[in-house]
Amino acid sequence: MTDPTGSGVSIPDSGVAQLSCSEVTALCLKAARGAGMSWGLAEEAGYAARWLYARGLDGPGALLEVLDKTESCGTAVLSDGSIRPKAHSVLSPITVGTALSDFAGLCPEPICAKPVLRPLLVLPFLHQMASAAQAARLLKWAQGSVAVDPSGAVCGETALLEQADVADIIVSAAPDRPDSAAPVADPAPFQPDILKRLDDYAMRTTVPATAASRADAGSMDSDND
């Protein structure tokens, strides 16, 4: 049974596709890797995009913008409760999110990070923090706040956060369990250009075929028997 865990997403002729969550994970992981993230961070990018997509939020679109600006983002440093870019101008939300999750329990909250590109992508990591601590986590920025509880329920100004391009954020324990979690929306169909551009990045993880590689992958004899 072929198990094409390496396969990409087929783009229908219409260009608009309803992707499954596993396709979103695979596509975004590969796109992040293709754009230059380490495999481990690319896995986090796939997780984050899928987490948002499953809640009706545009994680894949936000990730695409981050990948387009990969060169503006670099490594980060954390000191005195603050995550800052080491040498670059902005922080990747994947770097920030993984640092928040990794440092959970090590570093007193609140932790701030600035400036963060597409901070929507930090939300999935609040879920990880909340699960680990069994207590909701709150993300605040100038225009609003969004909380995520240990079950992954989201409440707050998600629509505003979805639109935020760059923001300084503060993450802390939520004072109380959020009581008005937004209902999980169905994933929206992929816009053709987003799918195409993520796929372009994903294809950078692949290797052009040669006659030898084609032949080597199959049977030594005819497989039509």
Partner: protein, 559 residues
Amino acid sequence: MVGEPDTHELARFRRPPADVMRLARMGSAHPSRLSFLRILLRRLRGEGWRFDRSLWEIDKTGVGRALYRAIGPERTYSLVAFAHDLPPDMRTDRVIATAWDATFALVDGEPTSADLDRLEANVPLQEAGRIGPGELCLSRANRSVRLFEYVVDCLAAGRQPDRAQVDAVGYLMRTTAVYGAGKFGAADHHRIADRPEHAAPFQAEMLTVWLIRAFTVDIVEHLAAARGGAKAAPLDPDIKQGLGVGNSTGLGMAPFLVRHPVLLDHWMQAREDALARVRALPTASDQTVSAFRAALTAAQENAAQWRSAHPIQVDKLADLRADLDRLATHLDTFDGRVPHPWNVLWHWGEGLSLEGQEALLSLLLEPHGALVDGLTDCMSADEDASFRIDGTVGVGTTRALLEDHYDWALALDFDDLGAVAQFWYVSEEKLEPRLGNRKDDAGAEREQPLGIAWLASRFHAALADLDADMPLAEFLLTQPEHRYMARRLQIVARYPFAEVRDNLIGSDMLPIDLMRCKLAFFGASRFDPRSDKWVRISLFQNEPYPSDLNAEASARAAQ
């Protein structure tokens, strides 16, 4: 009936991961009663599922569509089959194919006529089409050139095909892919994971293949009737029983076990626990001993019919046949009354080849369903639950964990070109995993992260001179390139059977070993490598058909 075994007591009957997780042993795995297709059949039978063919619109040339329903206590699943007229020159099992003799989708529920039309526009295209959240699997199959037409001709003339000729192939059609779990738009696994019939792994895929098996016989009989008219004969039930569904698979399958470490652990743990439970039994009843003998006889018959022309498999088959014969002889003096008789037998079997040892494992499970079948409840995994890295762990502890769980990898010399001779990559053309030669082939800079031993070694080197108290979080912030391996290490520390303990990029690595292990868990028999990267197998051979289970259920209802 045996009670739940004591976990502590079982420990001394368990094999250590260092023995179990070696490629050579994994590449000798045999299907067992814990295999996924066996789990499916037990459930269908136990719950009295009913089956029918609710649509058959296939013309005289064998082109059209059909619908098979599996009706369970709570839900119905439907296999939609599209039969095509494929020119012989377009028939290939490789993923590079663009057309097939038949294409299929497994529908969650019953398709409406609009669903059928939508599926007809997409399913024949396979990877180039889309299915939706109402579908669970996408698959296709090609006819066996050696057998299909021959059987149609025989039946059309009113005769049965020659048994030896049928046995030499063992199937009328072979599937070349069975996609599930969200692929090409299908329902994500989490949407169905809480249903009991999907609690075990790959149950939708197994149901798909099993219903395809019924289709392969139906289409042959249909074509024979179309050609032979009144004189056409149906296929002899005995011959039919011996037919499975063939399957061709290449490297696409090999990375799965590496990419799903928690799942691999759970499959292996269940199997190893099952073996330990049997070995720990204080005595053996006459009934289980005779059931064991019957299973051995069946295994000997299977080994006699199992054919392969591949030099590696030819040698392994010779080992297997010889070992099963030795086992049969040894059994003449087997004493079920000595303490822990199955354990005594197991230790005797440690003198057999790896093929023989792993066959013995499967045989030991066979008469002990009541003791081991419940372990199949533990074979699925929530992979998300182990995704998060614990960054509070110190670098010193991380180093110690690496030295403990990856000692086999750290012992390798990666300055030796042989240790890094191969690399895994994904082909741009067909998006299928392939293996390259690092010295000669382009593309190593786009290597997939499957050379775990090398990654572990580099992670270990990066941690070497750091303060033991430094939290892993701090290390990963500055060196995110080790994040992949850090996550893996934390998984392996918790799940000891999660890692294949061999170098997957070494010059002597054989991908077919990974494939055989996975296929054995599926329940595949007649493993027949066609190269070191491409295999044929058979599924559901000698198992019942939907009509057999219908008859059983009716008989039970009449009692």
